[in-house]
């Protein structure tokens, strides 16, 4: 590249060529264009959730930077003098006053606030839905386990970014949110009170917390998220994207469109679409009207308040936990130690830590749990259709139900007032559901997945129901089935259906306890299974046909499905 002969040897003819030559002979880049310019990306609508997450993050950076130019994260006392008349002269923090100024006195400020808040909600939602897609299609399997971990961390950082930002305007609603956090922090054994005092710079609410959250919100957390996004995308490039199974797709190829021009155009255009939709929502739907809440004051609170949606499940868990059982037993334990009595407030600590702990631990560990059970250490680049992994799908549904019951519990008071039912009954029912619901969800989801697999078998073997009823010569009526073409059939039959295995003895003929456990887990996973149709089965089913009309034997097998 540095030798003069190289420059002489390559004489660009076109304008593109001259630009390329200028850039490449100075900083390189042709290699990158060669690598990425025509790289193939598989196309599917479910692959766009991750894009939504990325694009909303970009929108968050743009709108957030604008907001920092006007926001003042100070908790100093001031009297509001801006344009919003109902609050004029009211004593409040500078942070709240500057949030009001952004809303009322900076042109487009309210719009930017709304864009920022709506994209934050969408960012976490897109993260979550993207992870559900990855989970239900098995995209987390080797070699992508570490990227799944990075993604989970991104989701947690997204929650942190959301909560720190939510608290900044220092309005009544967010102040009460902080107070709840303070109560939860104080319930931590041994160090809780100290953490609370260090966090708030003394007693709640203090004058330090907004400034501290601000630094976390605009500097540390976005930097970590950016770094993680970089790692995440880097790994996507290394692994190449997964693809759905189907004709022409194998575990060793990638089928799709080249980055330039098709994929770049679609993905690039999609950024503008996401931005446009966020802008339309922000134009028409008010979010977080802080001027209605007033400045933070520890005494008032409004009924029916809700946290932002992604914090709801933890708030719901706090609501569901009973503080007392019966009339004389409660979850606040005063434990006598040699040095005195200390208080363990399990009614707060348990719901704040345990459900989130279970969900995130299982999420992080799942790739390894599954590969331990299946003994499957192969690389997977073809996705599973969720129905073809019934137990995994059922576990995912159980998790979703567990989450959603807690989430619903965060609105227990609104459920009660909107549906005119007793608040206490809503809570009692949700307490039962949070335990029983995941089990029911698991069973139903697994049955549905197996049933869908059987339906696939039926379609692969006998074709699609045409709705055309034919009367046979001997008077019987029968519905004509139309066979599917080989491409469609391949999609229905090209999956793996592992079988439960018996425990294997080691070299000394001893079956270890973990091997027994693994075998039991394998039975739990794969005892109920539906195998893909094989060519010989298809042949057998066709040879019995009279033309396109199924014979009696086939009908019986259909009836038994």
């Amino acid at each position: 590249m540095s030798s003069s002969t190289a420059i002489n040897a390559y004489q660009p003819k076109t304008r593109v060529g001259r630009v390329t030559n200028f850039v490449d002979s100075r900083v390189g880049g042709s290699g990158m264009v060669k690598e990425f310019g025509r790289k193939i990306f598989p196309d599917h609508w479910t692959f766009m959730f991750g894009e939504v997450a990325l694009y909303t993050f970009v929108i968050l950076l743009i709108s957030g930077t604008f907001l920092t130019f006007f926001f003042d994260p100070s908790m100093a006392e001031t009297h509001y003098e801006g344009s919003y008349l109902p609050l004029r002269g009211v004593e409040m923090s500078v942070a709240y006053a500057s949030s009001l100024d952004i809303s009322f006195d900076v042109r487009g400020g309210l719009f930017m606030r709304q864009v920022h808040h709506w994209s934050a909600l969408l960012f976490v939602a897109a993260n979550a839905v993207h992870m559900l897609r990855v989970f239900f299609t098995g995209a987390f399997r080797r070699p992508r386990e570490l990227n799944w971990v990075v993604g989970t961390t991104l989701l947690i950082m997204g929650l942190a970014a959301g909560f720190t930002g939510y608290s900044l305007p220092d309005d009544l609603l967010s102040g009460n949110g902080l107070r709840i956090i303070d109560g939860v922090v104080k319930s931590i054994p041994v160090i809780g009170t100290y953490i609370s005092f260090f966090l708030f710079g003394g007693e709640f609410p203090g004058t330090a917390i907004i400034g501290r959250l601000y630094v976390l919100h605009i500097l540390l957390i976005p930097a970590v998220i950016l770094l993680l996004i970089g790692i995440h995308l880097f790994m996507v490039v290394i692994h190449k994207h997964t693809q759905y199974p189907g004709p022409g797709r194998t575990n060793t190829n990638v089928v799709g469109y080249p980055v330039g021009p098709v994929y770049a155009a679609k993905a690039g255009g999609f950024f503008f679409i996401v931005f446009g939709i966020v802008a339309a929502i922000s134009a028409a739907f008010t979010i977080n009207p802080i001027w209605n809440y007033g400045p933070y004051d520890p005494s008032p609170v409004s009924a029916g308040t809700q946290p932002d949606w992604y914090i709801g499940w933890v708030d719901g868990a706090l609501r569901l936990m009973p503080g007392t059982v019966g009339s004389n037993w409660d979850f606040e334990w005063n434990i006598p130690f040699p040095w005195g009595v200390n208080t363990l407030s399990l009614n707060v600590l348990f719901p704040a830590l345990v459900p989130a702990g279970i969900v995130f631990t299982l999420m992080l560990a799942w790739p390894w749990i599954e590969s331990w059970v299946t003994k499957d250490k192969r690389e997977h680049h073809l996705l599973d259709r969720p129905r073809n992994a019934p137990t995994r799908t059922a576990v995912g549904v159980a998790g979703v139900v567990f989450y959603c019951v807690m989430w619903a519990a965060a609105s227990s008071d609104l459920i009660a007032t909107h549906f005119l039912v007793s608040l206490n009954d809503v809570t009692y029912w949700l307490r039962i559901l949070v335990i029983v619901g995941p089990v029911i969800g698991f069973m139903i989801a697994r049955r549905v997945a197996l049933a869908l697999q059987r339906k696939d078998r039926e379609i692969a073997l006998h074709g699609r129901e045409t709705g055309r009823i034919v009367r046979l010569p001997h008077g019987e009526f029968i519905e004509v089935h139309e066979p599917v073409d080989e491409y469609k059939r391949y999609q229905l039959v090209s999956f793996e259906s592992p079988e439960a295995y018996a425990p294997v003895a080691d070299g000394n003929g001893h079956v270890s306890r973990s091997e027994k456990l693994r075998s039991r887990a394998s039975r739990f996973f794969f005892e109920d299974r539906v195998a893909p149709v094989t060519p010989s089965e298809l042949h057998a089913s066709h040879s019995g046909h009279h033309g396109e009309i199924a014979n009696t034997q086939d009908r019986e097998s259909i009836a038994s499905h």
Binding site: D182, G183, S282, A283, S299, L450, Y487
Partner: protein
């Protein structure tokens, strides 16, 4: 659906032995034949798609103009209606500007750019030869450094490296003062008048009729140095019930005055203000997590996640008939903490 999942494969109707790895699997038929789009075959459709894309880009231009119009020609005038109008116009302008470009590009890609699916082979992320070499290089590096052969160096380094980050933790010590007994006391003191929140005007016992409720702060709180911090602990709810319905326990008979009782407004769960008073049932309800306290049982928890009754503020009446505190709360208010005891 009797036997197609539980039974053994040879007795089942639909369960076959799995074909993977065996010979009895379908062969991949390859990509389905490409079907041309309308714009691929019909020049008029192609032209139409081109015009549609251009129209969408033009809509984007109009959106940008709408934004500028709203920014400069819809001035704010201190009314929320005007603000909403400006917000709507700015937002719709931006939305059209963005959607016009986005939908236009995607339409362009889908109708006019090639839609032949291409196939590319995957390559292994690494190969094992590299891995062996890397292992060897790391081995050499470790070897040459001598860290394995010289445990004295290794162990002292580990010790130093474990210790070195501790100052980075310790230096955060000054983030806040130590708790001390700050959480165990409030602004209340013997003889201090009960005043209305937020005005700070004192309350006469005769003002408190049966069934009414007052939000109360201690006298002088509004002038306090750490007003919000003190208020976060000291706010009180004051109610008058039929004295017969109160059942004070031993030692607390004189904490109320003629059916007037005062309880901490800070929930013992996680500290929200217990702001809802159900007059008929004499229950206090926290709107955050629905902990419910029964005034007739000294604010015992009867529902929800709180585990402890609301602390009661002992009250009395002074010579002028104003309500006063007999003392501070007898126990810490608000959420529990480790040192509460």
């Amino acid at each position: 659906m009797a036997d197609n999942s539980h039974g053994s494969p040879d007795t089942s109707v639909t369960v076959a032995t799995p074909g993977q790895g065996g010979v009895d699997t379908f062969t991949n038929p390859g990509l389905p034949p490409h079907r041309p789009r309308l714009a691929d075959t019909d020049p008029r459709a192609e032209k139409r798609a081109e015009r549609q894309v251009a129209l969408l880009f033009f809509i984007s231009v109009l959106g940008t103009l709408l934004f500028f119009f709203a920014y400069f020609f819809i001035p704010l005038n201190d009314t929320i209606e005007r603000l909403r109008l400006q917000n709507l116009a700015l937002g719709l302008g931006t939305a059209f500007a963005m959607l016009g470009i986005g939908v236009g590009i995607v339409h362009w890609a889908k109708t006019l750019m090639p839609d032949h699916e291409l196939t590319e082979e995957r390559h292994a992320v690494t190969d094992e030869k590299d891995r062996a070499e890397a292992e060897q290089i790391v081995g050499t590096i470790l070897d040459e450094s001598g860290i394995k052969r010289r445990p004295l160096i290794r162990n002292t380094l580990i010790g130093a490296a474990l210790l070195a980050p501790l100052p980075a933790i310790a230096i955060f010590r000054d983030l806040g003062p130590l708790p001390g007994d700050a959480l165990k006391h409030t602004f209340w003191d013997a003889g201090m008048r009960l005043t209305r929140d937020p005005s700070g005007t004192p309350i006469k016992a005769s003002d408190v009729t049966v069934g009414s409720a007052f939000h109360v702060i201690p006298e002088g709180l509004n002038e306090a140095e750490n007003k919000l911090e003190e208020k976060a602990k000291a706010v009180v709810l004051l109610m008058r019930l039929d004295p017969e319905s109160l059942n004070p326990s031993e030692g607390r008979e004189d904490w109320g005055y003629d059916g007037i009782v005062a309880y901490s407004k800070i929930c013992t769960h996680v500290g929200c203000p217990v702001a809802l008073y159900e007059q008929q049932t004499h229950h206090l309800l926290c709107p955050c997590h629905q902990s419910t306290f029964d005034l007739e049982q000294e604010c015992k928890v009867i529902f929800g996640p709180a585990a402890r009754p609301l602390p009661q503020l002992p009250i009395d009446v002074d010579d002028e008939g104003y309500l006063i505190a007999r003392s501070d709360f007898q126990e810490p208010v608000g959420p529990s903490f480790w040192e509460r005891g």
